[in-house]
Amino acid sequence: MTPSPADPVDRSDDRTTAYAHPERLVSTDWLAGQIAAGATGPGRAVVVLESDEDVLLYETGHLPTALKLDWHQDLNDPLTRDYVAADQFARLMTARGVGRDTTVVVYGDKSNWWAAYALWVLSLFGHPDVRLLDGGRALWVAEGRELTRDVPDVPQAGDDAAYPLVTREDAPIRAFKDDVLAHLGKPLVDVRSPGEYSGELLHMPDYPQEGAVRGGHIPGAKSVPWARAAAEDGRFRSREELEAIYLTEQGLSPEEDVVAYCRIGERSSHTWFVLTHLLGFEHVRNYDGSWTEWGNAVRVPIEK
């Protein structure tokens, strides 16, 4: 049975429907069904985008009909440390055959870190229907599903199919340094590794030193490494398991304002997704300046 792309929710899996916003997540089965039914690809109802840490991974083989969206090359402004503006974003989407009413499914490597980051940036532009592929690239590969090196053609978009100019709305889901200073005393989640949280490491284990001159964490932040939300197969943990971590153990509650941060905002996008879409928190912001800003800022408080 081929699921209808019009159905906003992947109902093939009870685990998925238990989440607060199940329409934000699709299973590999659901996506494989859409691909087989010809519903995916540039200009179609569903556009699949791959967003990886490794910029060349897409070229080694990707999901059929998928196009690449690179966090660094595409989503970041090349000059200012910020995301692209409305016109650049519209060009990016149009070049991938995405319209405002397209269902966008994002997937990627590293348990969807960068895919979650791309989804969050699409959310800054209020793209109505953007979802993650649960389990990401690794699960698709582990299940022995098809990969291809064929890059789909993108049909020339007429003016009516072009992505509209939409002003980015940062405030609801993005926190800046001053917002975090004003937020001190309220819940903060540090999703980095324990060594980075304690200040013993200035970067991720096995990763480059990215130039933070101070180690530690933002005062009052709870340490919940992002990977705790991921199961062994790379999918998200069940709602029950996630509630046990974030609600019971950490004492967070869905109506509170929460700010999540990491090093540059990619791992915390993963946690932002978990809190917002899987657990239904109403006001979570991702502080993308994160430790590469806080650990270098003058006179901001730090706890070790």
Binding site: E53, D54, V55, L56, L57, E59, T60, H72, Q73, D109, D206, Y207, P208, Q209
Partner: protein, 157 residues
């Protein structure tokens, strides 16, 4: 820099941005496996932490009798997982360009050689730092190992 590396750099510079990525992918695909003596012994290699993905490398410097230290042959070995094609591509370029060259040629490779492949605009300058770090480790290992192979000289130790 050695002609072989300069030729690769010229190929990259003459290619369109999309072709550059394809070229990098070819270097990634063609990076040879570790020889038997190192396979499964990553602890004998040096990890380059500046790379985003685990990359291990090792330099061997020849000990040909009668050859000056600077004329000894350098062999390069790399290991990086298939899910890190960019890192593998960088390694592939450096191997193709420097493997089999002399100590003097390897040490004479400018530290900023990775910037001459016009890759910054297609992979981002941030990611290129991994290649810069690989080259510096290669040169450091080459210098150390060629000094170790030299007969001890009087005075400086």
């Amino acid at each position: 820099m050695p002609d072989s590396l300069a030729d690769i750099a010229a190929d990259f510079r003459e290619a369109s941005p999309q072709e550059r990525l394809q070229l990098l992918l070819e270097f990634s695909d063609e990076l040879p496996e570790l020889p038997e003596r190192y396979a499964g012994h990553l602890d004998r290699l040096e990890q380059v932490h500046e790379c985003q993905s685990p990359l291990f490398l090792l330099v061997e410097v020849g000990g040909e009798p009668g050859l000056a230290a600077g004329d000894q042959r350098v062999d390069l070995f790399f290991s990086a997982p298939p899910e890190a094609p960019t890192t593998r591509g960088f390694a592939g370029i450096l191997r193709e360009g420097l493997d089999g060259h002399t100590v003097t040629e390897v040490l004479g490779t400018p530290d900023d050689a990775p910037m001459s492949f016009a890759l910054a605009e297609v992979v981002s300058p941030l990611r290129l730092r991994g290649m810069v770090a690989m080259l510096s480790r290669i040169k450091r290992q080459t210098a150390l190992k060629s000094r170790a192979a030299e007969p001890p000289s009087a005075g400086t130790g």
